[in-house]
Amino acid sequence: MRWLLIVIGFLSGIISGMGVGGGTLLIPALTIFMHVEQKAAQSINLLYFIPTATVALWIHAKNKRIQWRVLGVLVVSGVVGALGGSFLASYVEGSFLKKIFGVFLFIMGVIEFFKKGKKDL
């Protein structure tokens, strides 16, 4: 059980560290395999992401891959969306939220599958 959680976290962490959406791995893994409720899984993902992203961000910053001006504009405007989205999530039924999440995941999965791996550095 404990090891399974570490493995799930580890695999999600690799994906998160690359910046391609670790939550889309962690949340289904938690709801499907560990039977965690949707909103609980979402909150676990938000929290797990904080130290995971901090470590990844530090490495990316050291390698000078971050565009700080773009980051600043997106964070400031993102605050508005983040507040709206989080409050809305709390008013939606958990089972319904899980279904909408499924639809979102399906669309993103199809896009992901047909995405070409570019190798421009």
Binding site: L5, V7, G9, S12, I14, I15, S16, G17, G21, G22, T24, L25, I27, P28, A29, L30, M34, K39, A40, A41, Q42, S43, I44, L46, Y48, I50, P51, T52, A53, V55, I59, N63, R65, I66, V70, L71, V73, V75, V76, G78, V79, V80, G81, A82, L83, G85, S86, L88, F101, V103, F104, L105, F106, M108, G109, E112, K115, K116, K118, L121
Partner: protein, 120 residues
């Protein structure tokens, strides 16, 4: 990065924050392609910058979830332990791997998981 469009960037920011807050995830999936195709960042810049954008937004959303009583800490410590190790490796590997096979595997996982979540 060619030109930097403030209006479009603000729009991307709002949508990213909203998705990330509503689904407790998925902000990166929105913001990475937007940074690449709309803002014109290089692939690895887009991925790295995306993490920097999502991190403060996730902290804010986690705070709202906490205020609304949605926060559950069960399993968190073990997942985070694995997550931090994985996050370190993922960030180190990013420039070294060709991502085309990763997209295929990840895409299939997402589709299967999505169907499971929609029907159960």
């Amino acid at each position: 990065m060619i030109g930097f469009d403030y209006i479009k960037s603000i729009g991307i920011g709002i949508i990213t924050g909203f998705v990330n807050g509503f689904f407790g995830s998925g902000g990166g999936i929105i913001v990475v392609p937007a940074l690449e195709s709309i803002v014109g960042l290089k692939k690895h810049e887009a991925h790295a910058t995306a993490i920097g954008v999502i991190l403060p937004l996730s902290i804010l959303s986690a705070f709202v979830y906490m205020k609304q009583g949605l926060l559950t800490k069960g399993y968190l410590s073990w997942i985070t332990l694995g997550g931090v190790l994985g996050g370190y490796i993922g960030a180190k590997w990013l420039p070294k791997i060709s991502t085309s096979w990763l997209h295929k595997i990840f895409g299939i996982f997402m589709i299967v998981a999505a169907i499971r979540m929609m029907i159960v």
